[in-house]
Amino acid sequence: MASTGNTGGPNNRVTAMLLLPTTLWFFLLLVMPLVVIAVYSLGERAPAGGYQPALTLAQYGNLLARLKAFTNTLTLAPLGTVLCLLIAYPLAYYLAVKAGRGAKPFLLTLVIIPFWTSFLIRTYAWIYILGGRGIPRLLEMIGIEDVRLIYTPTAVLIGIVYGYLPLMVLPIYVSLEKLDKSLLEAASDLGASPIRTFFQVTLPLSAPGLVTGSLLVFILLMGEYLIPALLGGGKVFFVGNALVDLFLQSRNWPFGSAVAIALVGIMLAAVALYLTLVGRDRDRQNVSVL
């Protein structure tokens, strides 16, 4: 950080100066808003909505009123992460290990292409795909009647997997791409079947990508509101949706801030727990997370 500049060397001063914008940025973009929200969370809702200063923990006491949003988020975000992982891994594996040199750039582009359009529009498209005239109608044609997809938790999960898959595929792809393929040959040479090679070598060595992808997806999912709003039909309620409601509808800023702080807290705890679990293993591998 910039404060190390006081040891005097011109290099230190230059470093400090170079770091200054980053430090300011970090402070302005990350720390300040969090402080503001923390202060708001101790206040009271003004009669017509908004914030009025106070020093009370009442908002936190009220958190249980959004318990369902928290439990929804804490079930669907990990579930979505795991689903993404299960689908992304074989995909990334194919891209990194199996795909031919010619096909690889093309396939990678296909993974990235969705990013070229707005996430909103893409998710909106799913309303039609999952709606009565989309997949359910196709299923009807092959004799599977009365499938309801849109505005269900399943629809939300589909939307999540669709939206977040690239974020999971890319880091895993990178770690698999970096993986020294001769290690796989070594394992095979030493008598490991392809499946055992996968579980003993490929999987543990692609753990960094796996951890990065999972963290990325999990953290973003914890704050997700668009997919549940559009594909959950307001029935599948995330903390993100509770926040949108609190800030934009009931304008209960202090309660909204308390919910936001609680979410950040839970997220940090979850990430810390995850990293500790992963870290035990990672320690054995000297592979960095990010």
């Binding site: 020294d180 040959e185 070594a186 040479d189 030493l190 392809p194 055992r196 090679t197 070598v201």
Partner: protein, 391 residues
């Protein structure tokens, strides 16, 4: 096992060909590695050594021909079902395992899996074998190159393979360590009694370690034999050039029979040499070359009188002198011959007192020291040599 006159054969190639697209990496290759021997595949980079090794290990399948291990064809058998293990060029140690876990990897794949105590015991034995006791818990990236290599060796040996394959195992080590490891590998091979097939582009390494050397070029075997065979009886210029240093005097084959040939140099000078192939004579009028090892050339002060010990002699001027410690290398220029490389032993130097650039000297050699060879570099591909049974 296949019984031959000389014992069992562990690895055989019969007309093995491997193509990568247009590249012919291994070209109709025959090979026979007898049990318990230390065999080297020697040749310049890109000549197909690694590919040959990978064909044995099972990472590649031949386009044509048959690969046999212990007498049974292994074409189509995946690597994990072959009784061979490999020491990879970059060692390919698993970074997420400790030294002990790396070494025990092969044991853990066995069905049924040995007990923990047995694995620990066997790993301990291997550690002892490669002198790495106490390194069990270490991370492989904490080890030096030589130590890593020993881990790779132990890992590959723990399942007692029929054949151990080594792909340029010493290439990454520095010179001193390389020499130590050469000896260590030889000792190890004798101790464990496992057949070693080593790939190297370093002729010195091949000569010093192996019982049998296969010298390769462009996917084919040019000559096989012991170190002495290749060094003393190279069958063509390529071999004489690749194995050790040689002086070459180019010319045309003037006379030839099975025992030798006479070659007329461009200068008009006529030189006689031995025919190391012995059975067939060289083609008359074809391009030929006289090859003489520098250490077989006698060098003495130009005193006018011819030496009793040489058949061919000429005066020359010292152009350059390199002190090598145990010997001294002179580059001399002789009329009608061009540059000649001469290696004088310490003993010879102590007798002659040594020479300096500019000195005039007599150089000469015995005709029995000179080899008359086909010059394949001017005449297309070398004639394939039928693989003799290993003696």
């Amino acid at each position: 096992m296949v019984e031959t006159i000389n014992g069992t054969v562990d690895v055989e190639f019969h007309g093995v060909t491997k193509r990568y697209g247009d590249i012919l990496a291994v070209d109709d290759m025959d090979l026979e590695v007898s049990s318990g021997s230390f065999v080297s595949l020697l040749g310049p980079s890109g000549c197909g050594k690694t590919t040959s090794l990978r064909l044995i290990a099972g990472f590649e399948q031949p386009n044509a021909g048959d690969v046999r291990i212990g007498g049974a064809s292994v074409v189509g058998v995946p690597p994990h079902k072959r009784p061979v293990n490999m020491v990879f060029q970059n060692y390919s140690l698993f970074p997420h395992f400790t030294v002990a876990e790396n070494i025990g990897f092969g044991l853990r794949q066995l069905k049924p899996r040995p007990s923990k105590t047995e694995i620990t015991a066997r790993v301990g034995e291997m550690l002892e074998l490669v002198r790495l006791q106490g390194f069990e818990k270490r991370r492989t990236w904490e080890l030096s190159g030589g130590q890593q290599q020993r881990v790779a060796l132990a890992r590959a040996l723990i399942n007692r393979p029929t054949v151990l394959l080594l792909d340029e195992p010493l290439a990454a080590l520095d010179r001193k360590l390389r020499q130590d490891m050469q000896i260590e590998l030889q000792t190890l091979q004798r101790d464990v009694g496992i057949t070693f097939v080593l790939v190297t582009h370093d002729q010195e390494e091949a000569l010093s370690m192996s019982d049998t050397i296969y010298l390769m070029d462009e996917g084919r075997i040019i000559q096989m034999g012991g170190a002495r065979d290749l060094y003393d009886e190279p069958i063509n210029r390529y071999v004489a050039d690749f194995v050790g240093k040689s002086n070459f005097f180019d010319g045309e084959i003037a006379e030839a029979d099975t025992s030798g040939a006479v070659i007329r140099l461009a200068s008009g000078r006529v030189l006689r040499g031995r025919n190391p192939r012995g059975v067939e004579s060289l083609n008359r009028n074809a391009a030929g070359v006289i090859a003489i090892r520098p250490e077989l050339i006698h060098i003495e002060k130009a005193n006018g009188s011819a030496s009793l010990t040489t058949d061919v002699e000429t005066t020359a001027r010292i152009k350059n002198r390199i002190f090598l410690g145990d010997q001294t290398e002179y580059l001399v220029e002789a009329e009608g011959f061009g540059n000649i490389l001469v290696l004088a032993s310490k003993h010879a130097e102590s007798v002659s007192g040594g020479f300096s650039p500019g000195d005039f000297v007599n150089v000469g050699w015995k005709e029995s020291s000179a080899l008359a060879l086909e010059d394949t570099s001017k005449g297309g591909r070398p004639t394939a040599v039928p693989v003799p049974k290993i003696g």
